[in-house]
């Protein structure tokens, strides 16, 4: 393909492509996002292609089967969006595809049974579904609609227009000023003002002439979070475009995409996107005839949670072990190979083109003062509609979980939300004691500062909903074990402190310890906060500290009463089969890994408590809920 040499040519290409595409062409957009992929979405897209080949229908225009990034409502996958009609089909299986082709793509009619339904209402289009209604898609605008492997599709959707505007119509300082006025704060978790970093890096480079480096942090290590994965897989060009704009603003000519190695698809999509951008001259020398050069290199992470920390990323990019170093000096002064370096999260970079496109003032009107714009969350756990959501900052936690998420399924009730991954905390549903504001609304505003006041952090955007069957002691212990394994071991408070804290939690989970131990655990946690070298160590005790702050009773239940109220901690629970409800189907005995359930079909089954390993398989398979935990 011919290189694009000016903004006019970019505009021309976009117009030509749009003119060539037929508005009457039927399109099926099959979601290949993280959730749908795990449910076999690839087979659905193949089924579409082969069904079209086999179909005898006489199409005016041959339908287009597009595979896209995440559509959002992951719990209902595989999702397929069809036009004309803009129908959204959920739980699509390969065997449904021939009917979709005949009825919708050929006939233009809806397949009722594949529509999303809630409380007896069927919803035809995504925009009608409650899950989407309260959302505001800015950054995810193109995720789920464009084919991420085709740059032409991205250009038709407006990609690289903001870059053209920045490079050709704005001065570098104007770009930084725009980002400053927009109020953009780092989306990786810390919420540091982005423009401040940019300005410092640009100033430092002027004082000591030489290169400036940019890094996109795609080491999304927080468990329970897949926002960055969805962006990198669904709209990789937004990240690239954001980095080019940033490079121009700071006088940087080299960017690095650092992507977690557990995300092979994100790596593939970014690498294709980078290649295609080079082929069109949107990366490389003299971009759009502006005289500005920018290169991007893709680096795979090698499997270390600590490499989400900015000084650890730098070490890793230099080919060393990812151990953080003391800040200051900050990377904007002394970063990669001793040069000013700006590290922003993938989502932060993806915000930049939209800020230029909307203008700083319009962007700043989104969200709340001090936390502007929208934020992407992965809303998962014990919630009816789980998936990827984008909402304006400052939405209430209740609205997020109840309205968008549809609340906790079944009989259970909403207990808490874990935010911010291992660096974050466990925030209870009732936040009466946090702020007067929250007390009045009985729920928490989701923005950087309100979240920090709870003792948690907003973090990257993982939101894991817990119900009353989830134990906070167990979850705090889970995070400690995670962090203890992932601690790089460089500084003592983190290396030994986490071991010590885990020791306490291991005892509590067995029903051992004294109430004074809870205080000792708190004070040890505080020592980590005060004494650790890097941000990960300083925030490591958050889950424990917040869970004690809000759920001390549950700790006491373990220690004093030797009970796990949620029925999770294995040493404190026992399984039994209720003779009243058991219908003697025998599924439990068939599935018991220890073969410790005995009984005859159609008669009562019983569990031998001495041999039981409390794995809970019997409870999960029982069709009549006869297995009880006490």
């Amino acid at each position: 393909m011919k290189k694009i040499m000016s903004a006019a040519e970019l505009q021309d290409l976009s117009q030509t492509l749009l003119a060539a595409s037929d508005p009457d062409q039927p399109v099926a957009r099959v979601c290949l996002g993280p959730g749908c992929l795990a449910l076999g979405a690839e087979k659905v897209s193949q089924a579409f292609r082969s069904a079209l080949k086999k179909s005898n229908a006489n199409f005016k225009v041959q339908p287009l089967i597009k595979t896209t990034g995440c559509h959002g409502l992951c719990s209902q996958g595989t999702l397929v969006n069809l036009s004309p009609g803009n129908f959204m089909y959920v739980r699509v299986k390969p065997e449904d595809v021939p009917e979709i082709v005949e009825t919708t793509l050929v006939g233009g009619k809806v397949v009722e049974r594949l529509l999303y339904s809630e409380n007896g209402t069927r919803y035809r289009t995504a925009a009608d579904i409650p899950f989407y209604r309260a959302q505001q898609k800015v950054i995810l605008k193109n995720v789920g609609t464009i084919d991420p492997l085709d740059i032409k599709d991205a250009i038709m959707a407006g990609a690289y227009q903001s870059m053209a505007k920045a490079l050709l119509e704005m001065s570098p300082d104007e770009v930084i000023h725009t980002v400053e006025v927009s109020g953009l704060r780092g989306r990786g978790g810390g919420g540091f003002p982005t423009a401040y970093k940019w300005r410092r890096a640009a100033e430092n480079a002027q004082e000591k002439p030489g290169p400036v480096f940019l890094i996109a942090n795609g080491e999304e290590g927080d468990p329970g979070a897949f926002m960055d994965r969805a962006i990198m897989e669904g709209d990789p060009h937004a990240v690239i475009e954001g980095m080019i704009i940033g490079g121009y603003a700071m006088g940087a000519h080299q960017g690095f995409l650092y992507v977690r190695h557990e995300y092979p698809i994100a790596i593939q999509h970014l690498s294709v996107a980078v290649q295609q951008a080079y082929a069109l001259g949107l990366l490389g020398k003299n971009i759009l005839g502006s005289g500005f050069d920018f290169d991007i290199q893709l680096n795979r992470g090698a499997g270390a949670y600590v490499c989400g920390e900015e000084t650890a990323i730098i070490a890793s990019l230099e080919g060393r072990v990812g151990e953080p170093v003391v800040r200051p000096p900050y990377p904007v002064e002394l970063g990669l190979w001793g040069r000013p370096t700006v590290i922003n999260n993938v989502e932060t970079w993806a915000n930049v083109p939209h800020i230029i496109r909307l203008g700083a003032e319009s962007y700043a009107k989104l969200g709340v003062p001090h936390s502007t714009g929208t934020k992407i969350f992965s809303l998962v756990g014990k919630v009816r509609n789980s998936g990827l959501v984008e909402v304006p900052m400052g939405i209430s936690l209740g609205a997020l979980v109840e309205e968008i998420g549809g609340g906790v399924p079944g009989q259970a009730h909403f207990k808490a939300v874990q935010t911010g991954g291992p660096s974050g905390g466990i925030v209870p549903y009732e936040l009466k004691d946090v702020t007067a504001e929250a007390a009045e609304k009985k729920t928490l505003s989701v923005d950087f500062d309100s979240m920090a006041r709870t003792g948690s952090i907003m973090g990257g955007g993982g939101m894991i909903v817990m119900d009353n069957h989830d134990c906070v002691v167990d979850l705090a212990r889970y995070f400690l074990r995670f962090l203890e394994e992932e601690s790089c071991g460089k500084c003592l408070p983190c290396r030994l402190g986490l071991k010590g804290m885990l020791g306490f939690l291991d005892h509590f989970a067995k029903g051992e310890g004294t109430p004074e131990d809870i205080d000792a655990l708190e004070s040890l946690g505080q020592a980590l906060v005060d004494g650790s070298l890097c941000g990960l160590g300083k925030s490591a005790p958050n889950a424990v500290l917040t869970s004690i702050r809000y759920f001390r009773d549950e700790y006491l239940a373990h220690i004093v009463d030797h009970k796990c109220p949620a029925g999770v901690c294995k040493d404190l629970i026992s399984f039994s089969i209720d003779p009243e409800t058991c219908d003697g189907c025998g599924l439990c005995a068939e599935n018991c890994p220890e073969e410790c359930i005995t009984g005859k079909k159609k008669k009562l089954f019983t569990i031998n408590p001495a041999a039981c390993i409390r794995c809970g398989v019997c409870r999960d398979v029982c069709p009549v809920n006869a297995v009880h935990v006490a």
Binding site: P34, G35, L37, A38, L39, C74, S75, G77, E220, G221, D222, P223, G224, A225, F226, R229, H261, E262, Y263, P264, N299, R300, A302, G303, A304, Y305, S316, L317, E318, G319, R320, V321, G322, S378, V380, G381, K382, S386, G387, Q418, G421, G462, I464, M466, D470, L475, Y478, F479, F482, E486, C488, P593, C615, G616, V617, D620
Partner: protein, 154 residues
């Protein structure tokens, strides 16, 4: 599996893709890991000589990052996700069940070198927890039964 002849990967070809600079240590080792399924002491030495990196640094790198293995991995890699959502939805039980079925502990490879069992801290498919990754394929809402069926097909 017709037409698929086992080909011995060529370490020199892998190395020559990179300029001789220490910054490429991790990327190059990742290619070696992918091609050989582990990093042998011989290959580690060759990489160090090529890039001009002291062996101690390379050694610290391969033992620090989890994606490197110093022992050959099995033909198929089973990674049970233990992210937060998977933890809440029974990932730990699933991992123990895999250990019992494959008769290996996590991190180990079966004797016939067919399967390596590992756990992973979140693959980012949390909506479908618990998730197991088999090679590059994601299995959502996984159970021991569905995993066994999948492994049979391999």
């Amino acid at each position: 599996m017709e037409g698929k002849k086992p080909q011995k990967p060529d370490i020199d070809a892998l190395m020559e893709k990179y300029p001789r600079h220490p910054q490429h240590l991790i990327s190059l080792l990742q290619d070696v890991q992918a091609a050989f399924s582990y990093i042998s002491p011989e290959n580690l030495n060759l990489v160090c000589d090529y890039l001009g990196v002291p062996i101690t640094q390379a050694w610290s790198v391969v033992t620090f990052y989890k994606s490197f293995s110093l022992e050959p991995k099995g033909e198929h890699e089973i990674k049970v996700c233990l992210g937060t959502t998977c933890h809440l939805k029974g990932g730990e039980n699933l991992a123990s069940a895999c250990e019992r079925v494959l008769q290996v502990e996590r991190g180990q490879t079966t004797e016939d070198l067919r399967f390596t069992l590992d756990t992973v801290k979140c693959v980012g498919a949390c909506s479908e927890a618990p998730v197991v990754m088999v090679d590059k394929e994601y299995l959502g809402q996984a159970s021991l039964l569905s995993l066994k069926q999948h492994l049979k097909k391999l």
